[in-house]
Symmetry: C2
Subunit: 372 residues, 2 copies
């Protein structure tokens, strides 16, 4: 009893010495035993996503929950949807300049600042989630991406993945490369650049505007994510054909950004907790999508949606244009070239391995849902 009181007094002293608040940490030593390294820290996280994208947005809450559990509630993060703390597409810059200590976003939103950031998310005909994780964690990818992010004063941590996305909703069938020409499709980013080269009239509109635009025929087609998220937008009610695969997003990785000064101020144990909690949140997102998408696809099929595979001539033409675009960037930018070459080299070797047991098992076990 006496000892417990004594400990509480020491604890109170420690807590008093710590200042809780956005982005503030104490200057406690980080090399001593646990008893010396438990400052109270509260961070605010700026997400690029809305709460309606619950699987993606939710990863920040999973991160926060695990981090709190690991630190006995002493290091906590509160997440805010896109637009609440900072504009949704300014999360990178806001973490960079320290407006917020941590953010959750997709790095391909910021290719205007550095095209090489695309590889942190995904590139057309790039790697699937397992290949991406292997490249990042055990194929040299993390070192390369860290060097890209160091220019932004940011430590990058894994922030989830969706798996291969769907190609999107089309009001009419696209049976060939020729059928693509002239259609008006909502598709942002590099995928849009490729579609543009294939003759598509590329539109960039916000997610909330997709449904009315499709309904009124302002656009003929739109990509979004996959069955679970697409169903929530009601896209099956305004377009009948659901194409796959989304070759421009074969394994898009989300990322947590941490401001470097804030990171450096964290006790080592908190840094490790943040790393492990982000890895947990990251793989948890993929598992959630893999649990939510199957019943959503079934509901869509039951509602009359017809799934269609993009033809090989379309995929081959798109791959050729994708490689052309990336090689153009690589020719003009040393850093881009370094990332591109590491990514390509890993992917080529990986595609050969994934072409054996994984591919053959998929071909035998998975049904295509094509109605022929």
């Amino acid at each position: 009893m006496k000892r417990r009181k004594f400990i509480s007094a020491a604890g109170a002293g420690l807590v008093g010495a710590s200042v809780a608040g956005c982005g503030n940490t104490t200057s406690e030593s980080d090399s001593g035993p646990a008893i010396q390294t438990s400052p109270r820290i509260q961070w605010r996280l700026a997400s690029s996503f809305s709460r309606s994208l619950d699987t993606i947005y939710g990863a920040a809450d999973v991160l926060s929950e695990k981090l709190s559990e690991l630190t006995d509630g002493r290091f906590t993060i509160r997440s805010y949807p896109g637009g609440e703390l900072v504009p949704a597409l300014e999360v990178l810059g806001s973490v960079q300049n320290g407006t917020v200590p941590i953010g959750h976003s997709a790095s391909y939103y910021y290719t205007g600042r550095n095209p090489a950031l695309a590889f942190d998310t995904c590139v057309p005909f790039g790697m699937n989630v397992r290949q991406y994780n292997a490249w990042v964690q055990h194929g040299g990818g993390m070192d390369i991406l860290r060097s890209v992010f160091s220019d932004f004063n940011i430590i990058n941590l894994p922030g989830g993945n969706t798996g291969v996305q769907m190609g999107g909703w089309f009001r009419r069938e696209v049976n060939s490369l020729q059928d693509l020409r002239g259609i008006k499709m909502r598709i942002p980013g590099l995928g849009g650049n490729v579609m543009d080269r294939l003759g598509v009239s590329v539109q960039v509109i916000a997610s909330g505007d997709i449904y009315p635009a499709l309904e009124r025929g302002v656009i003929d087609a739109s990509e979004w994510v996959g069955p679970y998220d697409d169903e929530k937008l009601g896209l099956n009610k305004v377009a009948r054909f659901y194409y796959y695969p989304g070759w421009w997003e074969p394994g898009p990785g989300l990322t947590f950004y941490v401001n470097r000064e804030q990171w450096d101020k964290l006790p080592t144990t908190y840094q490790r907790a943040l790393e492990v909690a982000s890895a947990f949140a990251s793989s948890d997102m993929q598992s959630k999508y893999d649990a939510k998408n199957p019943p959503a696809l079934k509901r869509l099929l039951d509602s009359g949606t017809e799934v269609r595979r993009f033809t090989n001539d379309l995929l081959s033409a798109a791959e050729e244009q994708s490689m052309d675009i990336m090689q153009e960037y690589a020719a003009n930018d040393q850093q881009y070239r370094t990332v591109f070459e590491s990514h390509e080299q890993f992917k080529q070797l990986s595609n050969s391995w994934f072409g054996t047991a994984e591919r053959a098992y998929a071909e035998f076990a998975f049904s295509t849902n094509e109605r022929v």
Copy 2:
């Protein structure tokens, strides 16, 4: 300076009150702040695996490293290869009876004790690693598996995966179901039961004996794991044809077993740390395999190995026999039936979703390496 001394004294008091040792925890309260809940705990982990299977065995070391980092070195685990603390195939029982507080094993080794344990690892024509993770984490699988393990006094935590394994090494080509009849193949477990029904003369021999048995023609074929592990056994030197997919191991999950009494004695923060560290070690194993297998496959192909896909007639016959065997178990065992039905239901729906974007992307992006 004065405050630091004061804290150190409190810390020393805490440490003195804790007894380090195998499976011993202190009786410190687990509900207070971090300062009250940092007993020193050292556990010994019994693995079923040898150090030569470095990717699988290594997951215990990754678990240990992360756990130590998360607890500032206060909760540590030292791992021992199969046979050092307890016999390799008695890890489950040794954790159950408290001989060791934690183990790392594959639950299908223990189907003699309860056939339903197979679903904790994998069953023939079952789920791949993403489907398995989704079922366990967000498809009700964990609750069901926990109820199976509760009969063994064990808390189960994720312990890694290999991905779809290879079908193994054959001295002669197997171009049809007919060609399988009469061949002597080393293949344990349910896969062996199925092969037996397909007319194979099933052999169960230890990994170290595979090479000489194949070399001397005592067996005609043997399965093991995949390129990285198989290459280390030198199997390419004694068999030319490398078949895929290993339909009996489409996504085998390894598992950490924790003795329930030892688990209950852990402070809550340490329980959470163990959960998150095991999740980290688990997905890390898959990423390591996905980074190591591609260059190993390339080396095997360069050495003259010829990869071959099992024919569809063989796969279909094997799937039929697999389902027959599992339905026989289900008819005789209520618990088995419960697990089987949850597993099957999740798998069917999942196979439909994975048959769209994931399968189509794999078909387009991954090369088969077949030399035709």
